[in-house]
Subunit: 212 residues, 2 copies
């Protein structure tokens, strides 16, 4: 999986922001949305917005812009956010709890059906309505919970072992929030979410601003 | 600030991973580290690793690779992770608590000196040793806490108001974990950390794998 090249990754990463703006405009009852408006709202160039949106297959109409309803539906369909994605959270600590409670995810079709934790005291509790199950039930529950996606929020030194167990249990997509680069078969999608990357960008931007 | 273009942003985002590998190799007592080794460990191409590392100014030695000690110091210095960055967390919910407890940050010079929360019941408590202060003390405390960086982990509808208050109080860098695109003066660095972007990438990768 690590070798899979995703073309236009930065464009894909920007789509959720466009979707957010489009949904707001849709709620306001407007029919069309221009690339210039989106660009001004988000601080991008209009040409960038047009290029990014083109990867979804939508095209704007001259002088009018994008039909808002179609734009929302097209981005959602491109990202498969118009389907339900049943997911488990492995590691029910602060980060796991924060992700389960993150309100943005519900509009992306993400549905948390269970969390797993190695602390027996947590088993039986609920986090935002999602039941916490004992970690040793992980392998046995993936099939009956009908999940293929797992969010990994365990300590770094447990990351690879749990990845192996998730893969063996039939999980085909892992969203990895540990800063350990886990290994998985090519048939399993691993998305690494390294918070250090954001801090690296922030640090470099600060230096650029200070230099002027 | 939104108009500031950071060249080679993807390269900068990968530097923390290289630093992690270099530190491990340094702990093992090895003197040199090759781009090929780093590439294999992280699933990149060696040419990519060399290009990325070149932005820090370091160059490898033929047949030997990069001197590990120098590599670690060079990346840390490039990212300013060899300095102390005093920071506050605004919003002491699950995500704020998770970020304060995230062990990776301590090695990046990030030092949390206080958290702020609008819930009076949280004031006076500690999160991983960091005191929680009442939100209405925010403006008055930024100077005496000697902080210029704030992590924003409040609900979306509070994001712009708190950004304005942080800027007025003298904060010059905001790491924004809400999915609201906040507006700030050009002199203030805003780094948006949108978890939806990662989920967009994951969704597209899954489709690519299923197509084959």
């Amino acid at each position: 999986m690590s070798k899979l090249k995703v073309m236009s990754a930065p464009s894909i990463r920007r789509l959720p922001s466009y979707l957010l703006v489009a949904r707001e405009i849709q709620e306001e009852g407007q029919e069309y949305l221009s690339a210039t408006y989106v660009a001004n709202r988000l601080g991008f160039e209009p040409i960038q917005v047009r290029k990014d949106l083109a990867i979804t297959g939508i095209s704007g109409r001259p002088k009018k812009g994008y039909p808002v309803k179609e734009l929302v539906a097209t981005i959602e369909h491109f990202l498969r956010w118009d389907e339900e994605h049943r997911a488990i959270v492995v590691g029910a600590g602060n980060l796991g709890s924060a992700l389960i409670g993150y309100s943005g995810f519900t509009t992306h079709g993400l549905r948390f059906v269970a969390a797993f934790d190695s602390n027996p005291a947590k088993a039986g509790q609920q986090i935002h309505g999602v039941p916490v199950l004992p970690m040793d039930e992980l392998a046995g529950r993936v099939v009956d919970l009908k999940v293929s996606l797992a969010l990994l929020t365990v300590p770094r030194d447990k990351a690879q072992d749990l990845t192996d167990r998730l893969v063996a249990a039939g999980i085909t997509a892992i969203w990895n929030f540990t800063n350990c680069k886990v290994k998985a078969p090519d048939s399993v999608v691993v998305q690494n979410e390294d918070l250090s990357s954001g801090f690296a960008m922030l640090s470099v931007k600060r230096r650029l601003v200070e230099i002027g």
